[in-house]
C-alpha cells in the first residue's frame, strides 16, 4: 500500500508516471504534483458578471485563492439572477484558464493566407504591435476613413459596441457579425415600437411559439428566464411550439412539427381561420389601436405572378389618412375621434374613388389561404390549424380588463411569440407580418398577458408618426421608417441599397471582390475584427476566403484563434471575461417576464478578478491606445461623452445614455477604460456609487408595475399599429424613385423581385425556396444550443463545456436525421454522413437518428465545427452548419437582407 505524507495527484499516460518539475525540487517517483498551498491561503470572493449570452446581466461571485480563480457561483444578492447561474456562466473558469488562448500580441510570418495554412505566428511586444497597427490605421484614415472595415460581434457580449472606436476613426463600414440569420426584429419594431419583445408569463395562458426558444437553448438564462419558464410549466401555461425540431417547450407542451420555412403559410391560414371561420377578434383594438379602419384603394398588382398591395392611404388635402365614420356616415381624418365608430369593413365611395378599410382588404385577400391550402405546404393538418386558431381566441380574454396600480389595462392572455427560426427565409418578413397581425387581432400588444416591447425606448419617449402609426426611434428604426438610398454607397456591404435592412455584412465580400460592379469607388485598406466571426457565423465559402485575402491588412483583437485569425496579420491579445473592465446596461427583461422582472432594469460593472494570466489587455484600452496614436482620442472621448452608440441606453431621464457635462471626459486627455466606466457610473449614480459594485456587480432600478406595460404611456388611440404596412409601400416607392434618380439598380438583383416585397400585406408565392425538391428532398435547420449561443465567450472551446457535451449529450455534435428518413436511406446511428445544400457547400459529421425532427428536416445544432488546424483542438469537433448558407443576392430576403436559414438539402452516407 502506498503511503504518502502529502496529497498528490499524478499525471500520466500509458501507465508511465509523468512528473512536473517544480521549483521546490519534487521527488520524481510519487509526488508528481504538490498542492500550491503551504500555510494559510488568501481567500477572497469578488463580484463580477457573466458575459456569455445575449442577456449578460447575471451577477456572479468568484472565489480567488492566492490569486487564482477557483470557483464561480451566482450572486444571491443580485436582483437579476438571484444566485442562479447557467451552464455557460458556470464554465467561466474554463474561459480564463485556457492554454490555447492568444497569449500575447502575435505577428504573421507566413504571408500566404488560408483556412488550412499555417500563419507562422510569432510573439511580439505590445509596443511593436500597436506601432504596426496604428501606422496602418493612420494611413487608412488619412487616405479615406471608409477604407477601414470594423467587425464587432457577440463574442464579446458584455462589451458589444460599448467603445466607440469606429465613430472615432470615422468609418461607416461597421460589419456587425450578429444579424444575418436572425432578422427577427421587424415585427417588434412595427408593433412594439422597439427592437425586442417579451411575453408576459405573469398572466399568459396560451403561447404559440413559432421559431423561437423560451427558457432553454438561446433563452437559457439565469436572469430569471429559465426560472420563469419553469414556473410557467408548473402553473400550467399552455405552450404550443411550431418548430421543425421538438424543442424543450415542444416536449413539455404540444409540438406542432412544421416544414421549415413555411411558417408564412401557417400564419396566413390562421388569419383566415380567425377572421373567416371563428369570427371573433379584438374589434375594439382594430378600430382604436390599429390602421384597420384606414381607407385605401383595394386593388392589387401582379408582379412576377405575385399578388402585391401597393396602394397608400386615402388622404385629405392636409395629407391625413381618412377613415369612414359609421355614425357620421362619411370619411373623416383618422384622428377625429378615438375610433370606436370607425368602420373596419365595407366598401365606400370617397370623391369618386372606391375605397375600403384596410381590414376589409386584408379579409378579402385572405380568402384563398385556407387551412386546406396550408396543409400540404406546411405539413400541418388542416384540423390542427383550425384548433390553434380557435385556441388562440378561446384563451385570449378579449374584452377583459385588469387593474394594475389604479390603471385599467386591456387583459389579453394568448399570444404568438416569434423568432429567427421563422423569419430567416425568403418569406420570413411576410411571416412576421402575418403573425404580427394575429397578435393585433388578439389585442395583446403591450398589455398584461401579451407581447411587451422592451429595450431602450419606452412609450413615454416614443410615439406615432404623422399618420398616427407607431414610429420606433433609436436602434433599428430603419426597419420601419426606411433609409434613403445612398449613392455612391458609403458602405461596402450594400446596405445603402436596402432601405429596411437588418444586417448586410455577408454582402460585403462581393464588393471586395468586384468593387466596380458594386459601385465602390474607394479602397479597402484595413479590417479590424473583434469578437465576431464573419466567416464561421455567416458564410464559410471559398469566395469569402478570397475576399479576406484581398484585404491588405487585417487586425484581430482576439481571445482565441479562429477562422478570422487565419486571415489576420496582427493579433492583439484580448483579456478574457474575468480579466476585464466592463459596463453593461440591462434594459428590461427580454424574452419573457413576470412581475418579478417586468420592470427591472439596471447597470452592471465589473473589474478584473485576477491579474491577466497571459500578456493580454482589455480590448477597450487597446482601442484607446490606437486612437491616441492615430490622433483620434478626442473623437473617442466625445463619442463616449455623448453616448453616440445604443449599447449603454438610458434607464430614465436621470440616468441617460451619455454623461452629464460635469463628468465629461476631457477631450484631450487619455483615460483608461476603467476611468471611462467610473465616470459614467458617477454621472449616473453619483461619485460614491462605484464602490457599490465592489459588493455586487448589478445595481437595480425598477419601473412601477404599471409603467412596465407600455400601453400605460400611450393608451387607446394614442398610437396605432399596422395590419396594412403602408409605410413599407411608401418606402418601396421612395427606393425606386431614388434609384432612378441615381440611374442605378440594386446590384446583382432582380428589381421586379425586390420591388414586389414592398407590399402592404403578407405576400405569398410558390417556389420561394421553402419547398423540397426531388434532388433536394430535405430542409436543413440549425438551432442555438444552451452550451454556447452566438459563440460568445469561446464556449465552443471551453474544456468544461466540451467534456459535459461529450459525456452527457454527445448528440449536440451530430447531424440529426429524422428516424423514418434514416431507415429509408439506410443511415444508422453513428454513420458518417454528408449534407449538401442547394445554395452552397456541404458539411459532414456523425449521424444521430432522432425522433425529434420533422420527417423532412435535418438538424445541425449549435456553432460547432469551425475547423482549422491552428486553433484549440477542442473546437475541431462537431458539424459546421454555416458552410451550407449563401450570400448570393438571389437567395437573401430583399427587405431584411437575411440569409436563407434553412436551405434545401440532400444527405448521404460517406
Amino acid at each position: 500500500m502506498i503511503s504518502m505524507s502529502r496529497r498528490t495527484f499524478l499525471k500520466g499516460s500509458s501507465g508511465v508516471l509523468a512528473t512536473i518539475a517544480l521549483a521546490t525540487g519534487v521527488d520524481m517517483s510519487v509526488k508528481a504534483f504538490d498542492s500550491v498551498s503551504a500555510g494559510s491561503d488568501t481567500v477572497e470572493w469578488k463580484p463580477s458578471f457573466c458575459g456569455f449570452c445575449h442577456f449578460p446581466v447575471c451577477a456572479t461571485q468568484v472565489k480567488v485563492v492566492n490569486g487564482v480563480a477557483m470557483e464561480v457561483k451566482g450572486d444571491k444578492n443580485s436582483e437579476s439572477n438571484q444566485g442562479r447561474l447557467c451552464t455557460r456562466g458556470a464554465s467561466v473558469l474554463g474561459n480564463l484558464y485556457n492554454p490555447y488562448r492568444v497569449k500575447s500580441p502575435m505577428k504573421r510570418t507566413n504571408l500566404e493566407k488560408g483556412i488550412d495554412i499555417d500563419p507562422g505566428w510569432v510573439e511580439i511586444t505590445w509596443e511593436e504591435a500597436l506601432d504596426i497597427v496604428s501606422k496602418k490605421i493612420k494611413a487608412a484614415v488619412d487616405e479615406d476613413p471608409r477604407s477601414i472595415l470594423y467587425s464587432i460581434g457577440f463574442g464579446v457580449e458584455e462589451s458589444f459596441m460599448a467603445a466607440p472606436i469606429f465613430i472615432a476613426l470615422g468609418t461607416p463600414n461597421v460589419l456587425e457579425t450578429p444579424g444575418p440569420t436572425c432578422p427577427e426584429h421587424f415585427n417588434q419594431l412595427h408593433l412594439n415600437g422597439m427592437m425586442l419583445d417579451r411575453v408576459d408569463l405573469e398572466h399568459a395562458k396560451y403561447v404559440l411559439i413559432v421559431g423561437r426558444s423560451l427558457g432553454t437553448n438561446f433563452a437559457l438564462s439565469c436572469a430569471s428566464h429559465t426560472s420563469h419558464y419553469a414556473d410557467a410549466l408548473d402553473k400550467g401555461i399552455k405552450f404550443v411550439t411550431v418548430d421543425p425540431q421538438c424543442s424543450h417547450t415542444a416536449q413539455r407542451g404540444e409540438w406542432v412539427p412544421i416544414l421549415s420555412g413555411t411558417d408564412t403559410a401557417l400564419g396566413l391560414s390562421l388569419l383566415y381561420t380567425i377572421i373567416h371561420e371563428v369570427g371573433i377578434f379584438d374589434e375594439k383594438f382594430l378600430k382604436v389601436r390599429s390602421n384597420a379602419p384606414y381607407l385605401l384603394d383595394p386593388s392589387f398588382k401582379l408582379i412576377k405572378g405575385r399578388k402585391v398591395y401597393k396602394e397608400t392611404y386615402l388622404r385629405n388635402e392636409e395629407g391625413k389618412p381618412l377613415v369612414w365614420d359609421k355614425e357620421l356616415d362619411k370619411a373623416v381624418p383618422f384622428d377625429t375621434s378615438k375610433g370606436e365608430t370607425y368602420a373596419i369593413l365595407g366598401t365606400y365611395e370617397v370623391d369618386g374613388k372606391v375605397v375600403q378599410p384596410a381590414f376589409q382588404i386584408l379579409k378579402d385577400y385572405l380568402k384563398e389561404f385556407t387551412p386546406e391550402w396550408a396543409e400540404p405546404i406546411t405539413t400541418i393538418p388542416a384540423a390542427k390549424i383550425r384548433e390553434i386558431a380557435n385556441d388562440l381566441i378561446f384563451h385570449s380574454h378579449i374584452g377583459s380588463t385588469i387593474n394594475i396600480e389604479g390603471f385599467d389595462f386591456p387583459y389579453r392572455t394568448s399570444s404568438v411569440v416569434m423568432g429567427r427560426g421563422m423569419s430567416s427565409h425568403m418569406l420570413g418578413v411576410e411571416a412576421q407580418k402575418a403573425f404580427g397581425t394575429i397578435n393585433v387581432l388578439l389585442g395583446n400588444l403591450d398589455v398584461p398577458g401579451g407581447i411587451q416591447g422592451c429595450y431602450n425606448i419606452s412609450w413615454d419617449k416614443s410615439g406615432p408618426d404623422e399618420d398616427g402609426i407607431m414610429e420606433p426611434k433609436g436602434n433599428m428604426a430603419n426597419q420601419v421608417t426606411g433609409d434613403d438610398i445612398v449613392y455612391p454607397p458609403e458602405t461596402i456591404a450594400m446596405g445603402d441599397f436596402y432601405p429596411m435592412k437588418h444586417c448586410a455584412t455577408p454582402m460585403a465580400w462581393h464588393s471586395v471582390l468586384e468593387p466596380e460592379k458594386y459601385h465602390i469607388n474607394y479602397p479597402i485598406n484595413v479590417y479590424l475584427i473583434h469578437g465576431g466571426d464573419p466567416v464561421g457565423s455567416h458564410v464559410n465559402s471559398p469566395s469569402v476566403h478570397e475576399a479576406l485575402k484581398k484585404i491588405p491588412f487585417i487586425i484581430s483583437v482576439a481571445y482565441h484563434y479562429d477562422l478570422p485569425t487565419q486571415f489576420a496579420d496582427i493579433l492583439l491579445a484580448e483579456s478574457s471575461s474575468l480579466e476585464k473592465d466592463s459596463i453593461y446596461r440591462m434594459c428590461r427583461n427580454e424574452k419573457e417576464c413576470t412581475y418579478d422582472t417586468v420592470g427591472l432594469m439596471g447597470t452592471l460593472v465589473k473589474k478584473p478578478i485576477v491579474k491577466s494570466v497571459y500578456n493580454t489587455r482589455v480590448a477597450e484600452d487597446i482601442y484607446i491606445d490606437i486612437c491616441e496614436r492615430v490622433g483620434k482620442l478626442s473623437e473617442f472621448n466625445t463619442a463616449w461623452n455623448h453616448a453616440l452608440l445604443y449599447t449603454i441606453p438610458a434607464i430614465k431621464d436621470e440616468i441617460p445614455s451619455g454623461l452629464k457635462p460635469e463628468y465629461f471626459l476631457n477631450t484631450d486627455k487619455k483615460y483608461t477604460w476603467r476611468e471611462c466606466i467610473e465616470r459614467k457610473v458617477a454621472s449616473d449614480y453619483g461619485p460614491n456609487a462605484i464602490k457599490e459594485f465592489d459588493k455586487c456587480a448589478f445595481k437595480a432600478d425598477r419601473l412601477s408595475l404599471k409603467e412596465s406595460y407600455n400601453y400605460y404611456f400611450l393608451p387607446d388611440n394614442k398610437v396605432r399599429l399596422p395590419i396594412y404596412y403602408e409605410r413599407m409601400v411608401r418606402n418601396g416607392e421612395r427606393m425606386m424613385r431614388q434609384l432612378k434618380e441615381f440611374n442605378v439598380t440594386v446590384p446583382n438583383q432582380d428589381m421586379e423581385h425586390v420591388y414586389s416585397f414592398y407590399t402592404g400585406l403578407p405576400m405569398w408565392y410558390d417556389n420561394a425556396g421553402y419547398e423540397t425538391t426531388n434532388e433536394y428532398p430535405f430542409k436543413v435547420i440549425n438551432w442555438k444550443i444552451h452550451y454556447g449561443v452566438n459563440s460568445t465567450g469561446g464556449l465552443y472551446e471551453n474544456a468544461y463545456i466540451n467534456e459535459i457535451i461529450d459525456y452527457s449529450n454527445p448528440y449536440a455534435k451530430c447531424i440529426w436525421v429524422p428516424a423514418a428518413a434514416a431507415a429509408e436511406i439506410g443511415i444508422n446511428e453513428g454513420d458518417i454522413v454528408c449534407v449538401e445544400s442547394r445554395l452552397s457547400g456541404k458539411t459532414q459529421g456523425k449521424a444521430h437518428v432522432s425522433e425529434l425532427m420533422h420527417p423532412k428536416c435535418i438538424g445541425i445544432p449549435g456553432n460547432f465545427g469551425r475547423r482549422t488546424p491552428y486553433m484549440n483542438p477542442l473546437k475541431n469537433t462537431g458539424v459546421h452548419f454555416n458552410t451550407l448558407l449563401s450570400n448570393n443576392e438571389a437567395t437573401i430576403n430583399p427587405i431584411s437582407m437575411a440569409m436563407e436559414g434553412s436551405p434545401q438539402a440532400k444527405i448521404y452516407k460517406i
Binding site: K11, M70, L85
Partner: protein, 201 residues
C-alpha cells in the same frame, strides 16, 4: 436532521449547469462527474421527448457503500450525508461495486488534466492537490457549504430552480412540503437503499 434533496423533473431543462457547477467548484479532474445528468430520448415521432435525470450521490439511509467499506472510510454522518474519509480509504473499490447509482469515482493515476499537451492550468494545480491517488471520491452534498448554512452548489446554481435541499426530518422544510404535496419517486427502490434524493414532476 437528515439532509435530502428534491429534484423537480418538470422544471429541469437538462442544461447541465449542475454538472459544470459541481465540477468547477470542487475541481474534479476530467472523467469525474460527481453531479451529472442523463439525457435520454424516448418515444416515437411526434410523441418523443428527452428525459433528463440529474444524478449525484443519493446519500442513502441504508447506504451499501458504507456497509461494504472494509476500513470505515465511507461513513454516514449524523446529518445524513455520506462521506469518504480519504485517510482511511484503501482504494479497494468495494463501494463502487456496491453503489446502485454509479455515484462513486476512483482517482486513477492514469488520469490527466484538461490539456494533456499543455500542462496543468493554475486552477488545476490548486485543485488536484486536494485529491489522493488511488482513492474514491464522490458528491458530499457540498459538506463545507452546508456546515455554514448554504445549499450545495448544484442547488444554488440551477437556472430553473429545479433542485431544493433541506432537512427531511423537518416536516415544515421545503423538501418535506414538496414531498407531502407531490408524488415522488426514488431511483432503484428495489435496492432498499432509501435514498435521500427524491424526484417529483
Amino acid at each position: 436532521m437528515r439532509y435530502g434533496m428534491v429534484i423537480n423533473l418538470k422544471r429541469c431543462i437538462g442544461c447541465d449547469a449542475c454538472a459544470i457547477a459541481c465540477k468547477q467548484a470542487n475541481g474534479t479532474p476530467p472523467g469525474t462527474f460527481w453531479s451529472h445528468v442523463i439525457h435520454k430520448e424516448v418515444g416515437k415521432f411526434p410523441n418523443a421527448k428527452v428525459e433528463y435525470t440529474p444524478l449525484l450521490c443519493m446519500h442513502c439511509e441504508n447506504a451499501p457503500c458504507v456497509t461494504n467499506c472494509p476500513t470505515g472510510a465511507s461513513i454516514k454522518e449524523e446529518n445524513g450525508i455520506v462521506r469518504v474519509l480519504a485517510d482511511k480509504c484503501i482504494g479497494c473499490k468495494q463501494c463502487i461495486v456496491a453503489c446502485p447509482y454509479q455515484a462513486r469515482w476512483f482517482m486513477d493515476y492514469k488520469a490527466k488534466g484538461y490539456f494533456p499537451s499543455e500542462g496543468f492550468t493554475d486552477k488545476e494545480k490548486a485543485d488536484y492537490g486536494k485529491f489522493e491517488l488511488g482513492k474514491v471520491t464522490k458528491c458530499d452534498f457540498c459538506w463545507e457549504r452546508v456546515q455554514v448554512g448554504e445549499d450545495p452548489i448544484c442547488v444554488q446554481i440551477c437556472p430553473a430552480t429545479a433542485r431544493i435541499f433541506g432537512d427531511l426530518d423537518d416536516p415544515q422544510s421545503e423538501v418535506s412540503q414538496l414531498l407531502h404535496h407531490n408524488e415522488s419517486k426514488q431511483l432503484v427502490p428495489e435496492a432498499g437503499t432509501n435514498p435521500a434524493v427524491y424526484y417529483i414532476g
